[in-house]
């Protein structure tokens, strides 16, 4: 049985209360969130934050699922406390900080997994399977649209492409050789872009085109991903997965969610990597590549030129 701690804000923690019971070999033993009732709902020890978890309850948990917004200092704290660590979300980290976390976790023989749960969702797993099985042949074009609302609570309007870069590298199973990017300020202040568009060039003429927006008004987000391969194509599009609600006036479209399935699959992979004493999928190697490509995106934005390198 792997004893889990959860650390993050209430929105981050709550879904795990219904996800973890799916896993026979895991149990939530500690929760660090502002809402203490979240801990009591699953019979776990409450704490105000990760620091308190480490200080007061460190003997009661083996691994922690940490909200990426808690930052690298919290990540280091968890590893130094001897805990396996899943950082879920887009971690704002430099290459050197990442290397330091990696070294720290390896010294202690701890599993460290970083990234968004997106690739673990059933839709994208199906897309990936269509590639690895050979059904759709060599991937030629990956097209992603990700539109989100401006997150006023977190005051983060700038678009981070980490999640999409990770998806692109994972689906092509390669590192890009060329990067070109443009951005735009739609509703954000002019010194902060809330729209980002990225071209990635992969070996064998593979290409990815990604647009990320954080300008939608409060409400639903939108995600669409398609892979055009040499012998077929896969389309994972929210447009296809909406239901209609007629409540007077124009019909509204509501997406049937798969978020919990993605969280569960990511967590299962993390736990399996602990049990099997191996690197998890979406490992440090992936994160290093993501950061390198994200740096190239920044360079392209600044130079208005495509950035190329040999892989």
């Amino acid at each position: 049985m792997i004893r889990l701690a959860l650390a993050g804000d209430n929105r981050f923690v709550e879904p795990y209360l219904s996800v973890v019971p799916h896993i026979a070999s895991a149990q939530i033993c500690a929760v660090a969130a502002s809402d203490a009732s979240l801990a009591s709902r699953c019979g776990a020890q409450p704490a105000a934050d990760l620091g308190q978890l480490v200080a007061r309850h460190t003997a009661e948990w083996d691994a922690v699922v940490l909200d990426a917004t808690c930052g690298t200092a919290a990540a280091r704290q968890a590893i130094e406390a001897g805990k396996h660590l899943l950082i879920r979300g887009e971690l704002q980290v430099t290459q050197s900080e990442l290397d330091a976390l990696n070294a720290l976790s390896r010294d202690r023989d701890l599993r460290l997994m970083i990234g968004c749960e997106t690739r673990f969702g059933p839709a994208l797993q199906t897309v990936k399977d269509s590639i690895t099985s050979g059904q759709i042949g060599d991937p030629g074009l990956l097209r992603i649209h990700r539109w989100e609302t401006a997150d006023q609570e977190r005051q983060t309007l700038t678009c981070s492409p980490q999640r999409e870069i990770d998806l692109a590298c994972w689906l092509f199973d390669a590192s890009p050789e060329r990067v070109f990017a443009v951005n735009h300020s739609a509703v954000a202040p002019t010194n902060s872009a809330d729209y980002l568009q990225i071209h990635l060039g992969f070996p064998q003429d593979g290409m990815a085109l990604i647009d990320i927006s954080r300008s939608l008004p409060r409400g639903d987000n939108y995600f669409s991903l398609s892979v055009i391969g040499s012998t077929g194509a896969a389309y994972a599009d929210d447009h296809h997965n909406t239901q209609l609600v007629f409540g007077g006036g124009s019909a509204t479209a509501h997406r049937t969610t798969e978020t919990q399935a993605a969280l569960l699959a990511q967590l299962q992979e993390f736990l399996a990597s602990i049990d099997e004493r191996r690197d998890p999928a979406a490992s440090l190697v992936n994160q290093r590549l993501v950061l390198r490509v994200a740096d190239a995106v920044t360079q392209s934005l600044e130079s208005r030129q495509a950035i190329s390198w040999d892989t």
């Binding site: 649209h145 568009q197 300008s215 008004p217 040499s230 194509a233």
Partner: protein
């Protein structure tokens, strides 16, 4: 009101343009014509179309333009002849309906723009801007439903085959001849690139999605970055043209966008292809499937090549010709005139150059 009499100047591709012209009661096809020194396969197709429509075929373009009391020329030749035939028609004082692409050369497009301006005739590039989904998108954007438009993307994939798949050519097999392949492709209507000069998807089909972009944004493209590849078909690989491309578009007024285009193979979609528009504005977003409204029809032993989804309520042909009629009557511009066609050709040229060089390229922009 007497209909406009139309001379069809070459109809070597699937004849959707002249048929579309004749869908409007104000336009009447009266003659088919072509140059006498065309290859026999061109004459055959011209004759066949003329016979099907009960109109004469003459091997003299000047005779058709001058002796049949026509007011409109409908040009549907090989792409490399589009501008020459159109210029001759404009010089003879005839309005022009022109199949895509405008030309494979921007300089030829410039010649046509000048000819149209000097003669004062109207020019309509054939397009799909009056498909019901595009009309709906235009209305929504114009109504402010998503605020001020700042980004527009078109994913434009035709799920059509194009001969044998890439990698299928044996080591001793010769490269596939472009023209011969296109001539053979006439049988299933996938001969949009017919002509001596090989063309990739950006040249063959790019005008359609770029016309969407131009109509919905109202501005021109100033800079592009593109990636291109021959990914699917042996004929495109053999002729060094692309069948897959992704293009970032930087436009006037800071608008950004993209075009993803490809001839992706019949297996890659249940019908003609995934064609979608994604628009972002300051107050929302819009996702439009170009094919809708459509009806899905499935039945036992349905042929594999038959589309399962059938577009309905499509009035594009009539509305295009109505647009031309109004332009002639009211001396206004058509929805996609020679200037716009030229701008799109320049965008395509810049995209191909960008794909070749691996760097963004400015569009040779003339507003």
């Amino acid at each position: 009101m007497e209909p406009f009499r139309c001379a069809v100047l070459s109809v070597v591709k699937h004849a959707y343009v002249p048929r579309g012209v004749s869908a409007h009661p104000r336009f009447e096809l009266v003659v088919v014509a072509d140059d006498p020194d065309c290859p026999e396969w061109v004459h055959q197709r011209n004759r066949q179309f003329a016979d099907e429509n009960g109109i004469p075929y003459v091997t003299d373009v000047a005779v058709a333009l001058n002796d049949y009391n026509v007011q409109v020329a409908v040009v549907s030749s090989q792409a490399e002849r589009h501008c020459d035939l159109s210029i001759r028609a404009a010089a003879a004082g005839k309005h022009v309906v022109l199949d895509k692409p405008m030309s494979t050369s921007v300089s030829e497009c410039d010649r046509l723009v000048r000819a149209v301006e000097q003669s004062g005739v109207k020019c309509l590039m054939w397009n799909r801007n009056f498909l019901p989904a595009l009309v709906h998108a235009r209305e929504l954007i114009a109504s402010g439903a998503i605020g001020q438009l700042y980004a527009l993307h078109v994913d434009f994939y035709f799920s059509k085959d194009c001969g044998p798949s890439k990698g299928s050519r044996g080591p001793d097999d010769p490269p596939i001849d472009w023209l011969q392949h296109q001539i053979a492709a006439h049988a299933d209507g996938s001969d949009g690139g017919v002509g001596q000069e090989p063309m990739g998807e950006l040249k063959i089909e790019g005008i359609y999605p770029l016309a969407y972009v131009r109509m919905l944004t109202g501005v021109g493209v100033t800079r592009v970055f593109a990636q291109t590849a021959a990914h699917f078909h042996q004929v495109t690989a053999d002729n060094q043209v692309e069948d897959l491309a992704s293009v970032t578009l930087e436009m006037e007024q800071g608008i950004v966008g993209s075009l993803s285009i490809g001839r992706i193979g019949a297996a890659s979609h249940p019908d003609i292809g995934e064609i979608k528009l994604h628009a972002l504005g300051t107050q929302g977003g819009l996702v439009v499937s170009e094919a809708r409204p459509e009806v899905a029809v499935y039945y036992r032993n349905q042929p594999a090549h038959e589309f399962r989804h059938r577009r309905v309520a499509v009035d594009n042909d009539y509305l295009l010709m109505d647009n031309l009629a109004q332009a002639i009557d009211g001396d206004t511009s058509t929805i996609l005139d020679a200037h716009a066609g030229r701008a799109i050709a320049a965008t395509v040229q810049a995209a191909l150059e960008s794909g070749r060089l691996g760097q963004p390229q400015d569009v040779e922009f003339v507003n």
